[in-house]
């Protein structure tokens, strides 16, 4: 018993010693690093992850840390004082929430938009052509709940098309809708072009005219958070709205503004 305890104490002491020396050596060799915290909409995950190493290379000594989540959650977090340098939302409304609380420095930039597409099985076996072709029991579809941004966009598109869809489920986010189509539990789902692109060949996207109706398109905004590291925040904003950011956004299926 006492032997085992002594072993544990020795192991702990050794671990502690290692940690201390580990910290010491890195402090001695490198210049102090800075961390840029970016709160970004979940739909930006792939693009931002891809931009991170290139930004870090262009800004030596900087590490980028992401906090991905729903735009509403992120903007609420920023309003409540979450320590972020940059806020990147997937809707104008959520950015305005943070702005009205006085948490955004300067004017946020609207740099990209995303539009809806109907995701179907590869080859489009149910011959989906547009929103009207989804109505009725022969085609089952899944959409976002009206309370979340992609659901509000879906409602706007429905209004523009003059149809009322009969979904089997209203999901809490757009990737859940995509998952229903990918797992073939529904025939079709209303998602964004970027989601279809991200799914590779597992789903096929069908364009429809009402995707560009007012309220149906989704705006992407980025702004510097008050109290953050202004210089790093501006560098990130210039990077994602510059040529490298543009190329990555376009490749993912976003439309540039």
């Amino acid at each position: 018993m006492s032997g085992a305890r002594r072993l544990v104490v020795t192991a702990l002491a050794a671990a502690l010693a290692l940690t201390v020396t580990g910290c010491g050596s890195s402090d001695g060799e490198q210049q102090p690093t800075r961390t840029l915290t970016v709160s970004a909409a979940a739909s930006l995950t792939d693009v931002y992850d891809g931009l991170k190493p290139r930004f870090e290379q262009a800004n030596p000594g900087t590490t980028v840390v992401f906090n991905f989540g729903g735009s509403d959650t992120l903007s609420q977090q920023v309003v409540q004082g979450a320590p972020a340098d940059v806020l990147a939302t997937a809707s104008t409304r959520t950015m305005q929430t943070a702005q009205q609380a006085g948490r955004i420095a300067g004017e946020p930039v609207t740099y990209a938009t995303n539009r809806l597409q109907i995701a179907v099985q590869p080859g489009n076996p149910k011959q989906v052509t547009g929103l009207p072709s989804l109505v009725g029991p022969q085609v089952t579809e899944s959409v976002c709940a009206p309370a979340v941004p992609c659901g509000a966009a879906t409602e706007a598109a429905e209004r523009a098309a003059g149809v009322t869809l009969d979904p089997v489920s209203e999901e809490q986010d757009v990737r859940s809708v995509l998952q229903r189509v990918q797992t073939r539990n529904v025939d079709a789902g209303l998602v964004y072009v970027t989601d279809v692109r991200a799914a590779g060949g597992q789903v096929q996207g069908v364009d429809f005219p009402e995707a560009t109706a007012p309220g149906a398109a989704q705006n992407y905004l980025v702004g510097a958070v008050v109290g953050g590291q202004a210089d790093l925040a501006d560098a990130w904003i210039r990077f994602v709205t510059g040529p490298q950011g543009d190329a990555a956004l376009q490749q993912a299926g976003f439309t540039l503004r």
Binding site: A147, V148, V168, S169, E170, Q172, S176, T183, R184, N185
Partner: protein
């Protein structure tokens, strides 16, 4: 056993128990009190009587009760097997039964979806033979709730069965009672308090179920949108509504727990 209600003989708790007990109570009670403070009382009535809220409450109560009944029907025999049989590998069996306690509910829901979905091994057959689609139905909600709630019933009942021991059954057997009669007339009445508290736990768990339900059953008002699902969706853009409905859920849970607790105590004494 000595109780406060018994009067004369009250055992004093050693003082080191009190401090962590108060901290632990605060950790649970203070956030719930925060819920009350955050509630928009002016619009409370309107917020909890929207068609979506009433549909969700009704669906939650219905599916919660059916799930609890299913847990009783399947979980009681399961607890009996775990507590009283001499099957080989009982320990492994028990740990499998307890898995839903550890598994993130959303994973449970996804596995149900992979099994019973349109392309799943069982779902495919159900679709081909009977034209039945399980996901996105109220039955799927019940299945998801039963999956996560059953271990709570099994654990409390198995505990009660082990504590009670087998001596009364032995007596019943020597008096000539067949096993089924002994089970019905002796075993089940003896462990009734455990059965009741296990059912309450299972019902409470089913009532609060979110992850497995939204993954497997989806979210559609009146069919699969239970109160926790509606609360989550509402919290995305209408916090007042979400908070008000959370309070309703809390009240329902407290009512159920208090009602069954008092009954269970009077049943024992």
């Amino acid at each position: 056993m000595r109780t406060r209600r018994g009067g004369a003989t009250t055992l004093a708790l050693p003082w080191p128990v009190w401090v962590p007990a108060v901290v632990g109570f605060g950790l649970i009670a203070v956030p719930v009190a925060g819920l009350v403070l955050r509630t928009n009382w002016a619009d409370f009535g309107a917020l909890i009587t929207t068609p979506a809220a009433l549909d969700a409450l009704w669906l939650s109560l219905q599916t919660g009760l059916v799930s609890t009944a299913l847990c009783l029907l399947l979980g009681t025999p399961l607890a009996l097997v775990l507590a009283r049989s001499d099957l080989p590998g009982l320990a492994v069996l028990r740990s499998i039964v307890l898995l839903p306690l550890v598994l993130p509910p959303v994973v449970g829901g996804l596995t149900l979806l992979f099994l019973l979905g349109r392309t799943g091994p069982i779902g495919q057959l159900l679709d081909a033979w009977f034209g039945i689609t399980v996901p996105f139905s109220t039955e799927a909600v019940v299945l998801a709730q039963t999956f996560v709630a059953m271990p709570f019933l099994v654990v409390s009942l198995e505990g009660a069965l082990r504590t009670a021991g087998e001596r009364y059954e032995v007596v019943a057997a020597t008096l000539g009672a067949p096993p089924l009669t002994a089970l019905r007339r002796v075993t089940l009445p003896v462990v009734l308090p455990g059965l009741v508290s296990g059912s309450v736990l299972a019902f409470a768990r089913a009532l609060g179920e979110f992850g497995a339900t939204i993954a497997f059953a989806g979210n559609l008002q009146g069919t699969t949108q239970t109160l926790p699902l509606l609360i989550y969706i509402q919290s995305q853009n209408d916090l007042d509504g979400a908070v008000a409905m959370s309070l309703v859920l809390v009240v329902v849970a407290v009512l159920v727990i208090v009602a069954t607790r008092t009954r269970d105590v009077s049943g024992v004494r």
